[in-house]
């Protein structure tokens, strides 16, 4: 029963648009002056990320190019892509959690139509070390690739 509730929860259609969800995060981050506060926030996001099944932490779900391990998986429900993700590093988990909160439950077209520039507006990329910034670029690349692949599948 509990499982079913979670399941339904996970596949709801997001109330906010991609843009609204992004603006909310930009606002949230603009409130912090100190980088450590931004990290605290990311850590919280990371801790609250939906559970990712241990058994699905397989190499084929790993995003290449991250210093820490990041797993990303998805399901298609009613033409929408539902992402789940995890990382063994909590700040990275916070970052991927942010991406999941914005892009999960969207149609492939919605994701493809977005330019992901909110990441720059948050000021995250330039403040990460190059290795970590590459990791972020890889995460975005994977989300985009999933959208593109499923756009083709769903429309054929």
């Amino acid at each position: 029963m509990t499982e079913d509730v979670n399941k339904n929860d996970r596949y709801i259609v997001p109330e906010k648009s991609v843009k609204e969800a992004q603006d909310e995060l930009i606002d949230q981050f603009s409130m912090f002056d100190e980088w450590l506060d931004k990290y605290e926030y990311l850590i919280d996001l990371g801790k609250n990320l939906n559970a990712y099944p241990e058994t699905d932490k397989t190499d084929d779900k790993l995003i290449q190019g991250c210093q820490s391990r990041v797993w990303l998986d998805y399901k298609i429900e009613n033409g929408r892509i539902y992402f789940i993700a995890d990382s063994d590093a909590i700040i990275t988990k916070g970052i991927i959690s942010m991406l999941v909160s914005v892009y999960s439950g969207r149609t492939p077209k919605e994701i493809e139509g977005d330019d992901f520039s909110f990441i720059d507006k948050i000021g995250l990329k330039e403040n990460l070390s190059p290795t970590r910034a590459n990791g972020l670029v890889s995460m975005i690349g994977t989300i985009r690739a999933v959208a593109k692949e499923n756009d083709l599948l769903l429309n054929n």
Binding site: L36, Y39, Q67, S68, D88, T92
Partner: protein, 407 residues
């Protein structure tokens, strides 16, 4: 001379990051450069920039003098018998690749064996693996125990009549324990096996006397001993180097070039193909002077006090697990690799960075030793003689704060 006085010679040490004073604890990755080294680079670039060993004009002569007198300084610094035993390369990695290739070509055949240790940097594993693959040889591994000591007692059992060479770090870049390389060389030589010592971490902390240790090859990088990046040294015994074919062709490494065949230059030019790092190599001279200056008892004593404080502070934290624990007479350089239970090394490094503390996180180019301890990576604080007790205290405070944030 105190550490605080020394610091004024290193411009990078007074920069701020994110509005905080930089605490540079990533010296094992690269050391900071003193003004004298920077000045030498500028001098070579603005007053003596000419290709070496070739033209007869004045600045070519000055540049050649700078380059060749550096060879003399390095020879003296590591106690080599002949100046032509000093080969300039681009770094430790290039030095080891040179030996793995040229020694392999000359002396390794199918079914032969090469030994490396389990705690080696990738740069002292991969070149040997590549050579073994090319030659159909077998790579064997000298293991490391739970506390981070080479299991030297197992060495004799690994050596047989097919063993051609052994490569080992003077000091591991993860564990920091000073390895008994002289003893290892003794064991290997008694079986007729030559030894390459990777001095990337050792040279700046312990120096090296190749005549005393009697290793056959010694490799180190300039940038880890205050010199410019892209500069490296390979010491090789003349007996070996003479018998090894060149690694790369072209430039000053030739005797005569005919389409019917080419002869090679004598040592050391035989192994110095192409235009050399003529602005970088001479920075080794002021770098060696700095290393000698910092190698005094007052600074050593201070550095040991800091190391004791740090190992005490880290060991007393039940969440911290340190790797590389010296025992008995063993000595360790001020390098601390550890994991923190419940806090990822990358998260810790990221938070410390924002507090102005530069440390290393990850696998540190040594995946096999990470696998040995079943960790995905570690956090490493590595100090130099210019680091202070105040910095060490600040680092511990920041680390504790970071742990609290993450758990």
């Amino acid at each position: 001379m105190t550490a605080k006085e020394v610091r004024t010679s290193f411009p990078e040490l007074s920069v701020s990051v994110y509005g905080k004073k930089l605490v540079y604890f990533d010296n094992a990755a690269t050391s900071q450069r003193p003004q004298s080294v920077i000045d030498k680079w500028v001098e070579l670039s603005s007053e003596k920039n000419s290709n070496i060993h070739r033209a007869v004009h004045k600045i070519a002569e000055s540049a050649t003098d700078e380059f060749e007198s550096t060879r003399d300084s390095v020879q003296k610094f590591i106690g080599a018998r002949h100046r032509e035993e000093i080969i300039f390369t681009s770094g430790t990695t290039a030095s080891i690749n040179l030996v793995a290739f040229s020694f392999g070509e000359a002396f390794v055949k199918e079914g032969d064996e090469v030994i490396v240790s389990e705690e080696e940097h990738h740069s002292n594993i991969v070149p040997w693996q590549m050579m073994c693959e090319r030659k159909g040889a077998v790579l064997k591994v000298l293991p490391v125990d739970d506390e981070g000591h080479l299991e030297v007692e197992k060495l004799e059992g690994l050596i047989n009549e097919r063993t051609r060479i052994l490569a080992v770090a003077q000091i591991s870049n993860v564990l920091g324990i000073i390895n008994p390389v002289k003893k290892i060389v003794g064991i290997c030589h008694s079986k007729g096996v030559p030894v390459l010592v990777d001095g990337a971490q050792g040279i700046v902390h312990e120096g090296m006397d190749v005549s005393d240790v009697d290793c056959d090859f010694y490799a180190f990088s300039g940038h880890k001993i205050y010199a410019a990046p892209g500069v490296g040294v390979l010491y090789g015994k003349k007996e070996w180097l003479d018998l090894m074919p060149p690694y790369m062709g072209g430039g000053e490494m030739i005797g005569h070039v005919r389409f019917s065949g080419t002869t090679y230059a004598p040592l050391p030019e035989k192994f110095e193909a192409g235009t050399q790092n003529l602005a970088g190599v001479p920075t080794l001279k002021p770098a060696i002077e700095m290393a000698n200056l910092l190698n005094n008892s007052e600074l050593k004593h201070y550095s040991e006090e800091i190391a004791q404080f740090l190992s005490g502070a880290l060991a007393s934290n039940p969440l911290v697990h340190l790797y590389g624990l010296p025992r008995g007479e063993e000595k360790k350089i001020p390098l601390f690799s550890f994991i923190v239970e419940g806090a990822h090394h990358e998260d810790l490094a990221l938070i410390l960075d924002k507090m102005g503390v530069a440390v290393r996180s990850g696998q540190m180019c040594a995946e096999p030793i990470m696998d040995r301890y079943k960790v995905t990576g570690m956090l490493r604080a590595s100090l130099a003689p210019y680091n202070t007790m105040e910095e060490a205290v600040y680092f511990v405070e920041c680390l504790n704060k970071a742990i609290k944030m993450l758990r």
